[in-house]
Amino acid sequence: MDRPADSLPLSARPPRRRRSAVVARWARRASVPSAASVFFLAVVVLIAVAPRIATGYDPTQIDPDAILSAPSVRHPFGTDEFGRDILARVAFGARTSLGYAVLATAISVTLGTVVGVTTGFYGGRFDNLVMRGVDVLMAFPGILLALIVITLLGPGLTNAMIAVGLGQAPGFSRVVRGATLDVKNVQYVEAARAIGATSHGVMWRHIVPNTRHVIFVLATLGYGTAILLGASLSFLGLGAQPPAAEWGSMLETARNYLQSNWWVGVLPGVVLGATLLCINIVGDQLRDILDPSLRVD
């Protein structure tokens, strides 16, 4: 059988930019802060994947002889009110916070991409209807949607992260829809249609790959927000439940020991703050390189 589409000399595939080119552009333009951020994040991710390399202690192991001991060689970050090693709890907390935020980001990116690409591609009444729904969902700022879900399903990090993912999806879909509108009338899309590609094929093989830089930047910045919201909910006592190690809930318990034992709250907070800061710096830089038009500020 002849294969009409593939045998044509005219390729409807978009030209692919080599991955190394993006990396090279990043390296050329990376400032000292963003290079340092990438390094710090690499360390945090490594510790999240393998917390044992950072500590020999168990995060829930109680030691009555070492309650609230100050940072020392044995316990570099000190110990908490149960004598648990704070460094171990920060390391295992990285796994909790970073891991659960992946769940939220996966939900928001998947939903945002599907809704954004289809509404932008099909347009018309379907687009109109869905986007009005998106407007309604965007009337709930910050953690509001998550609060409703947690009231109904009960506290817990999984529920919280599903709620955070759903809460971020409307904003994502709006941006992806804009990017879809930009590429949908470009010539290679027209060419793909001319050689008989289905709507589904055009969206999957041409539109999604050509909006992926937008999706990637959204995912990076959204990931930072998901970590922040997850920690905030845990701080309110609505996310991770004790004795699980999680950054937000560690800071919640630390509130009671601030006057006398500063290390209980300050050191985990520094790690959380630095992680969020680095994600924002890297996300900003990625946005500037991949798509300066996304700059909202």
């Binding site: 009005r132 729904g133 407007d135 309604v136 969902l137 009337a139 709930f140 700022p141 910050g142 953690i143 509001l144 609060l147 409703i148 879900v149 947690i150 009231t151 109904l152 399903l153 009960g154 506290p155 930072g224 922040l228 920690a231 905030s232 701080f235 309110l236 006592g237 609505l238 937000g248 800071l251 919640e252 630390a254 509130r255 601030l258 006057q259 500063w262 709250g265 300050v266 907070g269 959380l272 703050g273 969020l276 800061l277 994600i279 924002n280 710096i281 900003d284 700059r295 909202v296 500020d297």
Partner: protein, 307 residues
């Protein structure tokens, strides 16, 4: 202009209606029996269970419930607390002023710090002032408010004793919560205004203003800043809505009464009508803030409503 206002107001009313329906629908979106979810492990007799189901309207067809709930919300009847039996609107009325005062103070801090910082950073682009401002802005946006709140308490109330650690009473008690909450809008406004100013300062009319001999402050304030303000006004209004949701966390850190305290206690006690009421109130105020920002922008920049 009148038709633009009518369109925006009408559209916001539609969004508000959607919010009402969604909030009434939420209780039905979860798997399982909402009444049982709310009661949790508490020992409840079958008769009490029936009473709860009846008070929530769960014993009627879904569409009837939705229509009834939406109509009830429009009338301002938000139901009664499952714990105390008192109307939710009473709770909201008592909690709202405190949260509004906090959000307004935070916004004032954000504008007073963020706007001059953004302008100066743009005017002295590339200088140390620019680096410091940009650095502070990223830090302000990134740090979680519950952690900065804790640090402020340690530093300014425990160590220095300048301000009380609890957020209740007098203006002195308002300072730390307002600064904690206002840090984010300050950073966001500084960043946005900086890039808007940088764009405007390149425009021809700024060159003309300089060429005709105006002094630099006049060029910056009267010619550049006025044109760079538009996106900042939008951001500030939208931020104000977001501050209401941010206040939930800051109020908890400082033990301050308000919507945040109310909603967190409501969740922990599984008092769904209270949570519903707070969420509805914040979502509607946020919609209103967005509407005012659109109208304000159209008033500042007449080009918008001709589009």
């Amino acid at each position: 202009m009148a038709s633009y206002i009518a369109y925006r107001v009408g559209y916001s009313a539609l969004v508000a209606l959607g919010v009402l329906v969604l909030v009434s629908l939420m209780i039905h979106l979860v798997p399982g029996d909402p009444a049982e979810l709310m009661v949790g492990d508490a020992p409840v007799s079958a008769a009490q269970m029936q009473a709860i189901r009846h008070s929530l309207g769960l014993d009627r067809p879904l569409l009837v419930q939705l229509a009834r709930d939406a109509a009830r919300f429009v009338r301002g009847d938000l139901g009664r607390s499952l714990r105390s039996g008192r109307p939710v609107s009473d709770y909201l009325r008592r909690a709202l002023p405190s949260t509004l005062v906090l959000a307004a103070a935070a916004m004032a801090f954000g504008v007073l710090l963020g706007a001059p910082a953004g302008v100066l950073a743009a005017v002295y682009r590339g200088s140390w002032l620019d680096s410091v401002t940009t650095g502070f802005a990223v830090v302000g946006i990134s740090l979680p408010s519950f952690w900065t709140g804790i640090l402020f308490i340690v530093l300014f109330s425990v160590r220095l004793g300048w301000f009380p650690a609890s957020g209740q009473g007098g203006w002195r008690a308002l300072v730390l919560p307002a600064v904690t909450l206002g840090w984010f809008p300050a950073g966001a406004i500084a960043r946005l205004l900086r890039s808007a100013m940088l764009e405007v300062l390149r425009k021809d009319y700024v060159g003309v203003a300089r060429a005709k001999g105006l002094r630099e402050p006049a060029v910056i304030v009267r010619h550049a800043l006025r044109n760079a303000l538009l996106p900042t006004v939008t951001l500030a209004m939208v931020q104000f809505g977001a501050l209401l949701s941010g206040a939930i966390i800051v109020e908890t850190v400082f033990g301050r009464d308000g919507l945040g305290r109310l909603v967190v206690d409501g969740i922990l006690q599984r008092d769904f009508p209270i949570v519903q009421g707070v969420v509805l109130l914040i979502a509607l105020m946020y919609t209103l803030a967005n509407l005012s920002s659109d109208l304000l922008c159209a008033w500042i920049d007449p080009r918008i409503h001709y589009r």
